[in-house]
Structures are given as C-alpha cells and as structure tokens.
C-alpha cells in the first residue's frame, strides 16, 4: 500500500443522568417539543448554571475506565459562536484544563492476535445543543436536548483503517455499557461520532491534509464513510490533485461524502473561563473511591474468562461484548457441573448465539431457563440425544418454555444407539448408495461421512452418528 490512512475519532456521548447538566430539567427522550425546558437551559437573561454532581461522577468513572489522568483542577470555559440551537450563543465546554487526558483503549481486530492500543487524547465535559428542523423558508427549534450533559471523547490519530475505526467504536460502546453511564444509542443520538481522516505516504512523518467527516448515523456508516474517503483521497493523491482541508458530510443513501461549503478560515471560539462556574478540585480520595467502584470491564473480564474457563480469545471476546450477555454466560458456565466447561462454552458460542442472532435479540434476552440448557447439554453428553436433535430442542425450549425432558419425550427424539435398531436403516442405505460403498472400499473416507449422513437423514437425526459409523465400517469390511 502506497499510502497510510490516519484516522482520529471524536465521539460525543450523552450521559444518562436524570437531569440536565446545569439545571433540573428532565433528560427523557422523545418528549413534546420545548416541554423539558426551563429559564436556565433556555438561556433566558439572568439565569445561571449549576453543574450536575452525577454527571461529574459518571465522567470521572469513564475517564478512569480508559486509564486517563484526571486533572486535579478542572474548569469550564465558554465556547462562543452563534447558532439558533445554542440559546446563549455560547456552549459551556472545556478548553485548556479538560477533566482528563492521556488514556487508551485496546482494540482487538479479527485475525490479529495482539490488541492495538489506541490513545485517547482527552475526555472532557460539555453541554448539548437543541434540535433544528429545517423547513423550506424557516427552521424550527426544539430546546429539549439543550443542556443534556455530554462527554467529548477524542482519540489520538492512531487508527489506520476504517475497520479499526469500527472496532474502536464497538469497544468504546462495550465499555460504556459496562459502566452504565450512557445509552450509547446512535439512533437516539446519545452517541455521535465525527471522524478526521488524512492519507500520507508510507513512512512519512508529517500528517497529510485533514478531512473532517460528519453526519454518520451508525458505526457501519462511520466505516463506510471512511472507506469511501480512503478511496477518494487515494485517487486525488494519485492524480497529484490538491487536497484542501475541509469538512464533508456522509450521504448514507448515495454512499458518498459531499463537501460542506468551506467556511472562511478557522473558527474563532474566543474561549475564556466561564465566570459563572467555579473551579472543580478533584481530590485523590474521590478518584480512589470511584476507581474502587468500577465494575469489571470487558477486557478484564475477557482475560479472566480465558484464564478461568479456558476459553479461546475469540470466543471470550464474543461473550464479553455485552455486559448482560457476559453475566448470563458466566452464570451458565459456573452452574455447569464439573470442572470442564468446554461443552457449555461451545453451546453458548455456537447454537445459543445462532438462536440469538436469528431472533435478533441478545444472548441474555433469549427466553431460556438456564437449568434446562444444562439438562439438555447433559442429555447430549450421555448420548441420550444427538447433537443435531439437541439443537432443534434448543429452539423449542426457547419457543415453548417446556422442559428439555418433556420435549425429548414428546418428540420422540431419543437417540438410537442400539445396533439392532439401526441395522435395518443401515442396510437400506448401503443398498441405495452403491457408488459411495465402492468409494469407501476404495479408501475414500469422505464416503463414510456421506453414508452416515444418509442414515441420519433416514432416522430423522435420531441415530447416534458414532455408533452408525462403527456399524457401517464393520459391515463393509
């Protein structure tokens, strides 16, 4: 590859506090326009802000989860600009003394064994703006969202592909879910992402011309937009065309980025310390207290699963991606009798995950009683039912809520391992499949699999495949 892609991501996260950053209005989503507002968040003359303690706690929690250094003395600054969704025409944000800096997030990309460390430049506090609805001649403003507490999470430009960006976002979301500080829902707007991308010659030290990308509404959208940009910028560079620093919007429908009209020069936000808010002194004791209360985070849990339950890294990664899924899985693993948990793990990663995906729910949301799952697996281990049948029973367990025992009996699904019972079917299959028989005799082992498969088919999956295999071998030799 001639060019190296350099990507940095800026995530805005709405905290899930009950009330707004600087006033007591509710943060509930989807309310009637301008009903979650008060003189403070409307920026009425004479009003003053007071910061939400819970927001500060959540912010510190998140910063610690990313191993950031917490700024001992932090403050708010005013970011001054005019826009109708900004009632005071300044946003209360942070400039030179942000809450936290210099953290990191490890991402695990498929097929690559070691994680890649992505630096997190800063995590800082700010407030959200309102919502604009554009009509032809006018725009309408709803201030419900104004003042909702936000965290801005800025990554170092350490990401080198659209896939890495995607992985970064999924890891980020996973950790945030574990912390329970935000809904992280891009559709509801509680997580928003802008990207900065530039290309440079492989080995070059200087960064290339930066393009800012906006208007991506999903993680996939971020990945697609970045993929498009890599292509577009590569072409420009190949043709030696001039690259200008600009902001582009992603058009999800058309699958392209389009330029926003370039504004005159860099914006001058005239940051200065907000005189209406005090300094915040974050004591070591407070940091220690919050740190002690941090839940086990996904990557810690993953490493523990690998160590304690002997999971493969890939499998562990899947299980911990959602906190509730991880808790459900661990509960199943712990309750599974015996020291060897591999069977349970395989069932979780295999059939259960399949069921969850096809039903479009999360693992823990499956309507499945843990004990029945354990029983079912036990039946397979005791060879009372074949693996194939058991997978069907699993489906039925989820759908009917009946016990595994009942379903097996009702469906007459007991595995047939008795040689006498199987002889008839085996004979029929041998008769009907002369070619396969001769192939097997000629030394082709695949032919045996095929013959076993035919017996399984004819027995509606009830035959014990191992026993069948043995019987066929004996019969034909």
């Amino acid at each position: 590859m001639k060019y190296q892609t350099v990507i940095g991501l800026e995530v805005h996260l709405q905290l899930n506090t009950k009330t707004k950053a600087f006033c007591g209005c509710s943060t509930d989503f989807g309310k009637a326009p301008n009903s979650n507002v008060c003189p403070v968040c409307l920026g009425f003359p004479g009003t003053l802000p007071v910061y939400n303690r819970q927001a500060l706690n959540s912010a510190i929690k998140l910063a610690l989860a990313f191993d950031c250094q917490i700024q001992e003395h932090t403050k708010f600054d005013r970011k001054n600009y005019f826009y109708p969704d900004l009632p005071k025409n300044y946003q209360i944000s942070q400039f030179d003394l942000p809450l936290s800096r210099n953290g990191y997030l490890d991402i695990y990309t498929q097929d690559i064994p070691t994680p890649k460390r992505i630096g997190i430049t800063r995590v800082h506090l700010e407030e959200d703006a309102g919502k604009l609805i554009h009509e032809t001649e006018i725009s309408l403003v709803d201030f419900n969202r104004t003042g909702i507490p936000l965290l801005e999470i800025v990554s170092e430009p350490d990401l080198n592909s659209p896939q890495e960006a995607f992985d970064y976002l999924t890891s980020l979301k996973s950790i945030i879910e574990y912390l329970d500080v935000s809904d992280c829902d891009m559709e509801k707007g509680s997580l928003r992402c802008d990207a900065n991308i530039s290309l440079r010659q492989q080995g070059a030290k200087e960064l290339g011309v930066k393009t800012e990308l906006k208007n991506m509404n999903s993680f996939k959208g971020v990945k697609d937009a970045l993929t498009f940009e890599v292509e577009r910028q590569t072409q420009l560079l190949e043709r030696n065309q001039e690259m200008i620093q600009e902001t582009r919007l992603w058009d999800d429908q058309k699958g392209v980025t389009v330029t926003m009209r370039t504004k005159e020069g860099a914006k001058d936000y005239r940051y200065f310390p907000d005189p209406d808010l005090t300094v915040f002194v974050i004591e070591q004791s407070m940091i220690a207290q919050i740190k002690a209360q941090l839940p086990e985070l996904p990557q810690q849990k993953m490493r523990r699963f690998i160590k304690e339950y002997g999971l493969a890294e890939y499998d562990a990664k899947i299980l911990v991606s959602s906190k509730s899924d991880a808790e459900f899985a661990e509960s199943c693993i712990q309750d599974f009798p015996g020291k060897d948990k591999k069977e349970m793990v395989n069932w979780l990663i295999g059939p259960l995950l399949s069921e969850a995906n096809s039903r479009k729910v999360k693992l823990h949301e499956l309507n499945l009683k843990k004990n029945e799952l354990i029983n079912l697996i036990g039946f397979v281990q005791k060879q009372e039912i074949s693996y194939l049948c058991a997978k069907n029973v699993l489906s039925q367990l989820i759908e009917t809520g009946k016990s595994a025992q009942d379903l097996i009996q009702e469906g007459n699904l007991q595995q047939i391992s008795n040689a006498d019972a199987l002889t008839q079917v085996i004979e029929t299959v041998i008769e009907e499949n002369a070619k396969s028989v001769s192939d097997f005799k000629a030394g082709k082992t695949n032919a045996l699999m095929y013959l076993v498969g035919q017996v399984m088919k004819k027995s509606s999956g009830k035959a014990n495949p191992k026993v069948v295999g043995e019987l066929i071998k004996r019969r034909l030799n």
Binding site: G24, S26, S35, Y51, I138, D268, P273
Partner: protein, 95 residues
C-alpha cells in the same frame, strides 16, 4: 496598538452586529483611543503573576441529579418573536 477597520469589521462579524460605514469610522476612532489607554498595562511585568478568573476561593459547587419542574411550552414560548406550534421559528439558515 491600533485597530484597523478590517479588524473591526471582522470583530463585528464575530459579534454578529452589522455596522454602517459611518459607525465603523466612529467606532474605529473610539476603540483606537480606548486601546491606546489600555496599552498602559503592557508596562507591567506580570510573568510570575497568576491570573484571577474567580475572585472567590470557592470550588466544587454542584447540584443533585433531581428533576425540577419545567416550564410549559406555552410559558417557554411566551416571549418568542416568532413561533410555529410549539417550536421557536427562525429564518432560513444560509451558510
């Protein structure tokens, strides 16, 4: 230090105030005089001095995460120069 008309025009744009040409002239003269007066601050050596952003030695003022009563949309929009249903309405935004 002097402040030229171009700078004032730029600053007026940042502050979203439209200045008439005669206003621009007048303001330019006045600000020039005021800045000349303010420039006496550069006589002082303030390298070792810490800035005072907050005169009071208070910190960590916070409020609890408890919902309060909000305004009704009617009350919120009572003073609005232009509204549509329960929205504030503004003219088209042309970048």
């Amino acid at each position: 230090m002097s402040i030229d008309k171009e700078t004032i025009r730029h600053v007026a744009h940042l502050a979203r105030i439209e200045l008439q040409p005669n206003e621009l002239d007048k303001l330019s003269g006045e600000l020039h005089e005021i800045l000349g007066f303010i420039d006496k601050l550069s006589n002082l050596n303030v390298e070792q001095v810490k800035p005072t952003s907050h005169i009071l030695p208070i910190s960590n003022v916070l409020r609890e995460d408890m919902p309060c009563v909000s305004l009704t949309p009617q009350k919120a929009l009572e003073n609005a120069p232009s509204k549509k249903e329960n929205f504030f309405s503004v003219p088209k935004i042309i970048e």
